[in-house]
């Protein structure tokens, strides 16, 4: 039973990490046109849970990407500088969409592990019931 519980705890921590990642993707996409906004990324850390002995994942520090922001030539824009160039954020929507897709796939993988552990435990208990 202990191993099954550890599997479920690890899967739950994976789901939390992926939802955090998706939240950052949402922030990036929403602020794609905000001038001066820097893309937020997160790296995951391996965390050893002493109580259950399971290796879980936790979101690490949120870092801001230092890439050059997108610059557009638009003289009529209220934020254009003297050369007519508007500086927006450094977010590429295609990369964000791919990141969101990846977060969803990882989330589904963790969810199926959680469900599988639950089904295995139920199957084991069914041996005892008639």
């Amino acid at each position: 039973m202990f191993d099954l519980q550890s599997a479920m705890k690890s899967a739950a921590s994976g789901m939390r990490a992926q939802t955090f990642r998706l939240r950052l993707v949402g922030e990036n996409v929403a602020n794609a046109d905000t001038p001066g906004f820097q893309r937020k990324t997160v790296s995951f850390d391996n965390e050893f849970n002493r109580a259950t002995g399971a290796a879980e994942v936790s979101p690490g520090r949120v870092t801001l990407s230092q890439k050059d922001p997108v610059q557009r030539y638009e003289p009529g824009h209220p934020l254009a500088d003297e050369r007519g160039i508007v500086t927006l954020s450094n977010i590429n929507p295609l990369i964000e969409i791919a990141d969101a897709r990846e977060a969803q796939r990882s989330y589904q993988a963790n969810l199926s592990i959680f469900d599988q552990a639950r089904k295995m435990r139920s199957g084991l208990l069914n041996l005892l019931s008639k």
Partner: protein
């Protein structure tokens, strides 16, 4: 066949010891284990109820609720199965003709 009364006494004494309840060697008999399991189950059910109340008030995040309710459901299932088995064993023993 001749049975010596002292031998009979010894054999009776040995048989009597076998029917006496044995003390659990490591200090945790079946009753203690059952009690511990029940208290763990109560803690699990309490945390599940708290998580469900938080979710209905709009506070808790959905994943904690699902985790707590799953743990509650599994603990309840285990307790039900163990209870059925214990009751069945008890009834089986009561049915034995004396």
């Amino acid at each position: 066949m001749q049975v010596d009364p002292s031998t009979a006494n010894q054999l009776f004494g040995a048989a009597l010891k076998a029917t006496a309840p044995t003390e659990p060697a490591d200090g945790q008999g079946f009753a203690d284990a059952l009690e511990q399991a029940l208290s763990e189950m109560r803690a699990t059910v309490e945390s599940g109820e708290r998580a469900a109340a938080d979710a209905m008030a709009g506070d808790g995040d959905l994943q904690s609720v699902v985790e707590a309710l799953t743990a509650t459901e599994m603990a309840l299932e285990t307790a039900t199965v163990v209870r059925d088995r214990v009751v069945e064993a008890y009834q089986e023993i009561m049915r034995m003709p004396v």
